[in-house]
């Protein structure tokens, strides 16, 4: 992974109203998509609305870019983030309204809270990949650190004190754990086709 991303081709594109340029727009779409997915997932959790909002936000961004309201690539990023955040806020407001209206009906429908089969498969595949990634960590203290941080939800400072560890080392352990998990997921995906864990987390665009 490069330490700094390369300059996109549309970076020098300035001007008021832009003519429709499919190549530039495809590049904007491709560059914004991964970050937008992660951002919306962070703000909405595992909500099914993530996919819809990603597409909706990208349409709004491309329309504004085309009309020349977004002056340059620097503003493009800012505009995209703010659009996504506003959409999440609007969604929450409408969800709240819907919830209030259907409160009585919802209380009788337990099945709505059950995870769908695809989610169950994705969770299981993630667990398999994680087991492999954690199992490959030879240092038992590193494994303990992961449990204390993610499961016990202890603070970094507290864990460092318990394990007599520097904060820098703590970050390194997390970095390594992420790398191993990624490797494990990608290896499993290569062996058995695209797996559900990856699909759920990374390829909302594949469905299009």
């Amino acid at each position: 992974m490069p330490a700094r991303a390369g300059k996109p081709a549309y970076a020098n594109d300035r001007g008021s109203a832009r003519s429709k340029d499919p190549a530039s727009e495809a590049e904007i779409y491709a560059r914004l998509l991964p970050g937008l997915q992660v951002l919306l997932r962070q703000r909405l959790g595992g909500s099914a609305a993530v996919h819809d909002l990603v597409q909706e936000a990208l349409i709004v961004v491309l329309n504004h870019w085309r009309s020349g309201e977004i002056a340059d690539s620097a503003q493009l990023v800012s505009f995209t983030r703010t659009t996504a955040v506003n959409m999440v806020a609007n969604l929450r407001r409408s969800d709240r309204r819907r919830e209030l209206l259907s409160c009585a009906a919802r209380s009788n429908s337990d099945f709505e809270s059950s995870p769908d089969p695809e989610t169950i498969v994705a969770q299981e595949e993630l667990r398999v990949a994680l087991r492999e990634a954690v199992g490959s960590m030879r240092n038992s203290r590193d494994r303990q650190l992961l449990a204390l941080y993610y499961f016990e939800e202890q603070s970094k400072v507290e864990i460092c004190a318990v394990l007599s560890m520097e904060l820098r080392r703590f970050d390194k352990v997390l970095h390594r754990a992420r790398a191993r998990l990624r490797e494990s997921i990608e290896r499993n995906a290569q062996m058995g086709g695209r797996n559900a864990a990856l699909k759920t987390f990374t390829t909302i665009s594949d469905a299009d």
Binding site: P2, A5, T83, L174
Partner: protein
């Protein structure tokens, strides 16, 4: 400069400084972002950096998976995150939650040895049986138990002396949690004014004892104090137990 957002509200377009961050700095902030521990300003900036560098979004995505996955994995398979070496019991917090299993397996082994001994030699003396039971409690991992009971009596409290095993192994300290048990404790093992073992959170088992495993590699012969306190050190230590590890 102002623009209109998707919903028609004024939207301030700020010239972003996303490229000021390098990958190392971004990487160091990922866990805090996913944990929701960044300030609002830092959070917004982080998201702009992520949008400007799509290659880096993958790191955040993996952190989201790690956070979500480890919760369910640690709940289902706590032994995977233990601090032990294979086959040896340890002091990991997750493992402390199920102290009874240890006694069940030790008792099962002891019962097996007892039964076998009775079959082989009906004339075996009670003392021999005790000896057999003792060895059965430390089957393959060379684990020794040291119970730090309070010793009461006239004069100075009597200090417990225990022989430090010659071979690398584990010593399990059995520490009384006291009359008013807490949900969690911190245990510090002190030797020559230094902390040689520090464990938190540790919980007491149903019998009111903390079972803390310490590898003998971390110990040398000499005087020790096991100091029990609240996990966050919010109050004075609850109890202190002195003991001596002697050369084998």
């Amino acid at each position: 400069m102002e623009d209109m957002s998707a919903k028609g509200r004024p939207l301030r377009l700020v010239r972003h400084t996303a490229r000021e961050w390098d990958l190392a700095h971004f990487d160091s902030r990922v866990a805090d972002y996913v944990a929701g521990e960044l300030s609002e300003e830092e959070n917004d900036h982080f998201e702009e950096v992520m949008l400007a560098n799509p290659e880096w979004a993958e790191i955040v995505e993996t952190e989201q998976m790690l956070r979500e996955g480890i919760r369910s994995l640690a709940a289902a398979e706590p032994q995977l995150f233990s601090a032990s070496v294979p086959g040896v019991r340890h002091a990991a917090a997750a493992d402390m939650r199920a102290p009874k299993r240890h006694w069940i397996s030790a008792l099962a082994m002891a019962a097996t040895v007892t039964f076998a001994a009775l079959l082989l030699n009906a004339r075996m003396q009670i003392t021999d049986l005790k000896s057999a039971l003792g060895s059965a409690q430390a089957p393959s991992a060379n684990v020794e138990f040291l119970r730090l009971d309070e010793m009461r009596g006239p004069g100075e409290p009597q200090k417990l002396v225990h022989a430090l095993p010659a071979k690398p192994s584990m010593i399990v300290l059995e520490i009384p949690a006291g009359p008013a048990p807490l949900a969690a404790y911190r245990l510090r093992l002190l030797h020559a004014g230094k902390i040689v073992w520090n464990l938190a959170p540790a919980s007491a088992n149903d019998e009111g004892f903390l079972m803390v495993s310490v590898p003998t590699a971390a110990l040398v012969p000499g005087d020790y104090s096991a100091v029990l306190s609240a996990p966050d050190d919010s109050a004075l230590p609850i109890a202190s137990y002195a003991f001596t590890l002697a050369r084998h």
